[in-house]
């Protein structure tokens, strides 16, 4: 009457498959996705606005999709860079999933887009578990969030292809211990590159676009230990 079935199914397998399909479809269209993760207040939008503007100046066809829990003015801000921007409200959902992203791109993503930046919902827990079909996953943290941030959010930092420290102009005021931050990043994600950026001082300008273009050109990105898990 009752029986036990040996299932052995990964719970997030459906999202992983949708992400792989999206990655393949976008690659066929010549589009590379960059997934940006951070806590709220990390300065992600300001940095992205700068990088979008630089990409446009360099003649790189770029678009951005920004996901928010509720109405915020991130999209208006990003639109100042004059690249196509779409804002998506997640209605309280704390992360984007691959099939949701695919739906949002349908009928919107301009043909010939080389780089698509996705500004994920602002938190470092939920979005970490969902592959969006990106080729480059970037985790950002500002100097004001402290050098322990990678140890507090090991899954997010552990799965990053690239880490960017933002607001470095405030490093001294925030008493930010850069060496400790780097050591903590290496502990959870050995070998990952850490970039320093400040929109105010101009530090690191264009480096995100450089890394995204390299990934788009097929340069192998960093392979995090955590992503090399036996599933």
């Amino acid at each position: 009457m009752c029986r036990v079935v040996d299932l052995q199914q990964a719970v997030l397998a459906k999202n992983a498959m949708a992400a792989q399909v999206l990655r393949t479809e976008l690659a066929a269209r010549g589009t590379t996705v960059v997934n940006l993760l951070s806590s709220p207040g990390s300065g992600k939008t300001a940095l992205l606005e700068r990088e979008l503007r630089l990409a446009r100046q360099r003649g790189v066809s770029t678009a951005a999709l920004t996901a928010d829990l509720a109405t915020e003015n991130d999209a208006q801000r990003l639109a100042r860079s004059e690249v196509p921007v779409k804002q998506v409200l997640t209605d309280g959902l704390c992360h984007l999933e691959a099939d949701m992203l695919a739906g949002h791109l349908h009928h919107w993503l301009p043909d010939g887009t080389r780089l698509l930046f996705v500004e994920n919902v602002g938190n470092l827990v939920c979005p970490a578990s969902y592959d969006l079909g990106e080729s480059l996953r970037v985790v950002l943290a500002s100097v004001t969030e402290g050098e322990d941030k990678p140890l507090k959010y090991p899954t997010a930092f552990g799965l990053a292809h690239l880490v960017i420290v933002t607001k470095t102009d405030l490093a001294e005021a925030a008493d930010f211990d850069e060496a400790a931050f780097r050591a903590h990043v290496q502990q959870v994600n050995p070998g990952v590159e850490v970039l320093l950026a400040s929109v105010r001082s101009g530090e690191g300008a264009g480096e995100l676009v450089d890394r995204a273009l390299a990934a788009a050109d097929g340069t192998p990105v960093h392979a995090p230990v955590m992503a090399r898990a036996h599933a």
Partner: protein, 146 residues
């Protein structure tokens, strides 16, 4: 439970355990349909320490989300899987702990791979012929008889 998840809970950040619960229910319902079963007695789940899921939050969401489905009343049995890494160079295997240490404690090289700790896997499902409500009635009548 991970330090990160704890910190996040304290920060009052949004949680994705409801999405995980819904994905689980969809998979289990599929397995039940394939089997011709109308009820689910239990679901056995492995949660890796580095899966980014809080077992307590998941249990809470699972119970809520099961209402009105073939899984209503199903027991969720979770097992936490510790993170384990292996050094490609010296072959040392170690428990990475939380927060994880992915540098080899022996030679300080990067771990070659994570042997365990990222699981979020349904291992086993208990199926029943009767829908959950009927099971309840059967159980109730057994109780009355005893």
């Amino acid at each position: 439970m991970g330090a990160g998840q704890t910190a996040a809970a304290q920060d009052g950040e949004a949680m994705h355990e409801m999405s995980v619960a819904l994905a689980m229910i969809e998979q289990v319902e599929q397995a039940a349909r394939a089997d011709g079963a109308h009820g689910v007695t239990h679901v056995r789940l492995e949660i890796g320490e580095l899966a980014g899921v809080v077992p307590e939050a998941l249990a809470f969401c699972f119970e809520l989300a099961c209402a009105g489905t073939a899984l209503e009343g199903a027991e969720l049995i979770t097992r936490t899987v510790p993170g384990t890494a292996r050094c490609a160079g010296c072959r040392t295997t170690w428990e990475v702990g939380m927060p994880p240490q992915l540098l080899c404690p022996h030679c300080n090289d990067a771990a070659g791979d994570l042997v365990s700790g990222r699981e979020l896997r349904i291992c086993e499902v208990g199926l029943a012929d009767a829908p959950p409500a009927a099971r309840e009635r059967t159980r109730a009548s057994i109780n009355e008889e005893s």
